[in-house]
């Protein structure tokens, strides 16, 4: 993966290179094949040697102004022309324009009798003539090993081949020599002995009934090159080799944030959602709401006016539209507006490389800002798990370079450990949401949490969410003794809390009433006491008045007694009067 050393720009030191024009190959080789030297392309039958060689010539002739000679040992020029027409190469036209020369060399053993010494000067003459007639800079010999079948004198052949390659170098043409892979050797007749500057090996393997073509630079003298096996494919545009792009991880990063489409989920992601150009992985068990979240994300993108590419490996567009409508997400208007494009196919329809190529192509054509792949684990079915990982790595790198926010969903088995995905790509993604079914109180409820989200302070809470007729809705958090409460447990808790609140309310009201009553009682008592006091006061007044009255009566009586006794009543009266006054 990232340890490959291919460079995107051709190094300007040392070796001159002839660009092949084959998509991706120039990146791996750091600019093309060694200029003026022969390159050996080897591989088993049907792996694309002839095609690679032909594309090298055609691209050279059409794009780089370098005419080429194709010396065919196996196919006639008519056959060749027909074979590559499907790739859009018009050899007849190129031949007419003197940009290409095809020479079919037929070596039939049963037509040839060998008597004594000979050399292959005839071949040299023909090649030389072809090269000179169009001023060729490129030469393809396909497959020169046929000579070994036609001529029996090995020592002559080997000597002549050595001379031929030397001669090609002296001639200064960039040559591609093809050879069939032998048993344990690169080529059946050891051509690699002669061609030592650059050797490219093609391979065509079938794994799990899915075929994959691969290309590897076995050696390339005097230059750095990618050393991995790179998958390649042959489609209507010729060969494209898919190098692991962004090997240096130098893609630009954005600080812009994009909404996940679910406001409360955005809140969990430090309030703003994902970073633009980041890769979001959503893992979850079956039916946990992965696709629904993806649909939300798609709608959010379309609402921002961004194009969204939706790869569905399990559902047809129609099915998706219907299912999403059931939860209140209507995708159809966006499809009609051309902002949302579905691409539904079974993952096993073709190999991983073809998938990757399809994605590359669609991305290039549609220019989306947002991409959804739902789900990615089915891709394992189109190759091995390892291949799928590699493919996804390349895909993620590609999307990051394009600054496309990617939304990948991944199905996990119920029993699988948390934090484990089928493809081990968890380390590549920026944001990882985990959807789970929590089993509690005899029911399953959906729970989401953010496992990781690079570069933001995300929530660490487990949140329950519901699929309502308005889409995904995150619920409030209720914590119980065993963690977050979900479903009816949450509802029960909600009810319980409501009951407690009501009870308290009632209590408060009761107390208030009691206080009121007490106050009333108190006030009543105050009134009563006051009344009592007033009564007492009245009594006291009455008493004192009585005393006063009786004293007056007593004084009058004494006066009258004195008067009657004719005593000095005045003195006594004065004294007696004084005494009660002091007592008071």
């Amino acid at each position: 993966m990232a340890k490959a050393t291919a460079k995107r720009t051709p190094p300007n030191h040392g070796l001159a290179k002839a660009p092949t024009g084959v998509q991706g190959l120039d990146e791996i080789t750091g600019g093309g094949l060694p200029r003026g030297r022969p390159t050996l392309v080897c591989g088993s039958a049907g792996c694309g040697k002839t095609l690679l060689a032909m594309e090298f010539l055609v691209r050279g002739a059409t794009q780089f102004g370098e005419p080429g000679v194709f010396m065919a040992f196996e196919e006639t020029s008519k056959e060749l022309t027909e074979n590559v027409r499907s790739l859009g190469f018009d050899l007849d036209e190129l031949v007419k324009q003197k940009k290409l020369a095809i020479d079919f060399v037929r070596v039939e053993r049963n037509e040839i009798e060998e008597t004594g010494e000979y050399d292959l000067e005839g071949l040299f003459v023909r090649l030389n003539y072809s090269i000179d007639s169009i001023g060729a800079k490129r030469v393809v010999l396909d497959t020169i090993e046929t000579l070994f079948g036609g001529l029996s004198n090995m020592s002559i052949l080997r000597g002549e081949l050595r001379r031929l390659f030397r001669w090609l170098k002296d001639k200064g043409v960039t040559a591609v020599i093809t050879g069939e892979t032998g048993d344990g050797t690169l080529t059946r007749h050891g051509l690699e002995e002669y061609v030592s500057d650059c050797v490219i090996q093609l391979d065509h393997r079938v794994e799990n009934q899915v075929s994959t073509r691969r290309l590897r630079i076995v050696k390339y003298r005097g230059t750095t090159h990618g050393t991995n096996e790179y998958p390649f494919l042959i489609d209507e545009d010729g060969i494209s080799v898919l190098p692991v792009t962004s090997l240096g991880l130098l893609h630009e990063v954005s600080n812009e944030r994009v909404s996940s489409g679910v406001p409360r989920l955005d809140m969990m992601l430090s309030g703003e959602g994902y970073f633009r150009g980041s890769t979001v992985l959503i893992t979850g068990t079956a039916g946990s709401g992965k696709t629904s979240l993806a649909a939300h994300f798609a709608v959010a993108a379309c609402q921002r006016g961004e194009r969204c590419l939706y790869f569905s490996f399990e559902e047809s567009p129609g099915q998706l539209l219907r299912n999403m409508r059931s939860i209140g997400i209507d995708l159809e208007p966006w499809v009609k507006k051309g902002l949302l494009q579905f691409h539904s196919s079974r993952a096993a329809i073709h190999g991983l490389e073809m998938h990757l190529a399809t994605i590359h192509k669609l991305v290039r054509d549609f220019q989306p800002r947002v991409m959804i792949m739902d789900p990615i684990d089915t891709l394992v079915g189109a190759g091995t798990r390892r291949d799928a990982t590699v493919m996804l790595t390349r895909l993620i790198d590609f999307l990051k370079i394009q600054e496309i926010t990617a939304h990948l969903t991944n199905l996990t088995g119920a029993g699988e450990a948390v934090g484990e995905t089928d493809m081990d790509i968890s380390s590549l993604v920026d944001t990882w949401l985990l959807l789970r079914d929590l089993e509690l109180g005899g029911e399953r409820n959906r729970v989401i949490n953010v496992l990781k989200s690079r570069g933001m302070a995300h929530s660490n809470q487990l949140r329950e969410f519901l699929l309502t007729d308005r889409g995904v809705e995150l619920q409030d958090v209720y914590l119980g003794a065993e963690g977050v409460l979900t479903g009816s447990a949450r509802q029960a808790q909600e009810a319980r809390e409501k009951a407690v609140t009501m009870l308290r309310q009632q209590e408060v009201e009761g107390k208030q009433r009691e206080r009121e009553r007490r106050r009333e009682a108190l006030e009543a008592r105050i009134v009563a006491l006051q009344k009592e006091f007033e009564a007492e006061e009245e009594e006291a007044k009455r008493l004192s008045a009585e005393v006063h009255a009786s004293q007056e009566v007593l004084g009058k009586d004494r006066e009258e007694m004195g008067r009657s006794r004719k005593s000095d009543a005045n003195e006594t009266t004065a004294r007696s009067r004084k005494t009660p006054g002091n007592r008071k």
Partner: protein
Amino acid sequence: MRKSGISDGAKAHVTAPATEMFELRLYIAGQTPRSVTAFANLKEICEEHLSGRYKIEVIDLLLHPQLAAGDQIVAIPTLVRKLPEPLRRIVGDLSNTERALVGLQLRPVTQKDPTS
């Protein structure tokens, strides 16, 4: 040597009557010692076996390189028997007379070829 050679030879033995005209073309590339040897050997064989009914055309590919493709010349020297049909190619300097005669179908192939 080869099974096909055997049948060809057997057929030639029957179908090549002594009166047939032989049209031969010798391809060389410059006056190398090998071309000279080849021509000398060819002359000798023809004089001996095809006296009076053969025609030799020598083509120097250094002078006429465009002619090489037509007769599918790879090796030099190559002797092409244009006539009688079928077309035969004999590569090498013809120093092995026995093999040259087989190639020209002037002699049936022996069951066991001593030189192979």
